[in-house]
């Protein structure tokens, strides 16, 4: 499983990469490697509980 907002892209229009990299379609920017583990749901991480961008988009409060 992976975040529905995760895409892998070689370009964002300004920058080009040889290998497609994690891209957040909500933030409209490439994702830092440490955060890509959340996007990819590795090591028990989950966008719904661990990603500020996902939670803001979903309208979730941090108390929920």
């Amino acid at each position: 499983m992976a975040c529905p907002h995760l895409d892998y892209r070689e370009s964002d229009g300004d920058r080009e990469f040889d290998v497609a990299r994690a891209f957040c379609t909500v933030a409209d920017e490439f994702v830092q490697p440490v955060h890509a583990d959340v996007c990819a749901e590795r090591y028990g991480l989950d966008p719904e509980s661990d990603c500020e961008i996902f939670r803001d988009r979903a309208g979730l409060d941090w108390d929920e």
Partner: protein, 281 residues
């Protein structure tokens, strides 16, 4: 680890943290990610004066990798590209399970040194590097079994307590890395670094990391206090405001300042002698 050692011109060990695992080319296009890029950077920093290289491994797409296989590829490339530099593997890994954190210790040959985090550190709102005592003790046991010199990563003052807890288990000299920066790191200031150094055990050697704009002033302070320095793109992307750095440029600057202050730059062989590192070159 004293001002007197500075006055005596004790050699300084420069460690270069080449890539890390937090940010990547999305932050700095020149940051080395592939084994070939990391090896090229390692050769350049060795030429510039680094005695130790701190290594992480990545997937092809720049994301973090912890497997022995990926570390083996990186470490083999670095060994081939360098003359004698000491190789240090990271065992850090926010959220990664303990078993995966131990994999960088299992390359053949084993790394000469490895980082050993002394406690938790927050990243952002929800991410934490837990580093429980079980994690620390498990990784440390693995290092001792493989003859790997641990560098104790002290993210804040409280982590000194954890370092003291395992002091009797450490080969001489204990080697602690004092890390100052944002979040749950020690707040970066000369006074806080001074206070940390004053609390170190007798006979310990120490290294200093300052994140971002704190790299230059706090590593320079370390030179005056008889300590060692870590620089590199893992910790700091800029040479000065608005000017992106290279790993080699950061090492060249550290070596130049050390020379101006009368601290000769340690060769890899001298670093092994100073820090009690078993050579695997």
């Amino acid at each position: 680890m004293t001002y007197e050692e500075y006055l005596d011109g004790k050699p300084v060990v420069i460690t270069a943290a080449l890539t890390g695992g937090i940010h990547g080319k999305e932050t700095h296009p020149g940051l080395p990610e592939t084994p070939a890029e990391i090896a090229e950077a390692a050769a350049a920093v060795e030429e510039a004066g680094a005695a130790v290289v701190h290594l992480h491994a990545r997937r092809e797409n720049g994301e973090r990798a912890f497997s022995t296989e990926r570390f083996q590829t990186v470490t083999d490339a670095v060994r081939d590209a360098t003359e004698d530099v000491v190789i240090q593997h990271s065992t850090g890994g926010t959220a990664a399970p303990d078993a995966l954190r131990a994999e960088p210790l299992c390359t053949d040959p084993a790394p000469e040194m490895a980082s050993l985090d002394m406690g938790p550190m927050n990243r952002g709102r929800r991410l934490t590097s837990e580093n429980t005592r079980d994690t620390i003790d498990g990784l440390h046991a693995e290092m001792r079994e493989r003859g790997i010199k641990p560098e104790l990563e002290v993210f804040n003052n409280g982590h000194l307590n954890e370092a003291f807890r395992i002091l009797d288990e450490l080969a001489e000299p204990p080697y602690l890395n004092l890390i100052l920066g944002p979040g749950t790191l020690t707040p970066p200031s000369p006074a806080n670094l001074q206070r940390l150094v004053e609390q170190l055990p007798d006979g310990a050697e120490f290294n200093v990391i300052g994140f971002g704009p704190h790299q230059l002033p706090l590593t320079t302070q370390s030179l005056l206090l008889g300590g060692h320095v870590r620089v590199g793109l893992e910790d700091n992307s800029y040479l000065r405001e608005g000017e992106r750095a290279t790993n080699a440029a950061l090492v060249e600057r550290a070596a130049r300042i050390a020379g101006e202050l009368g601290r000769p730059v340690a060769s890899p062989a001298e670093a092994r002698e100073l820090l009690g590192v078993r050579s695997r070159r």
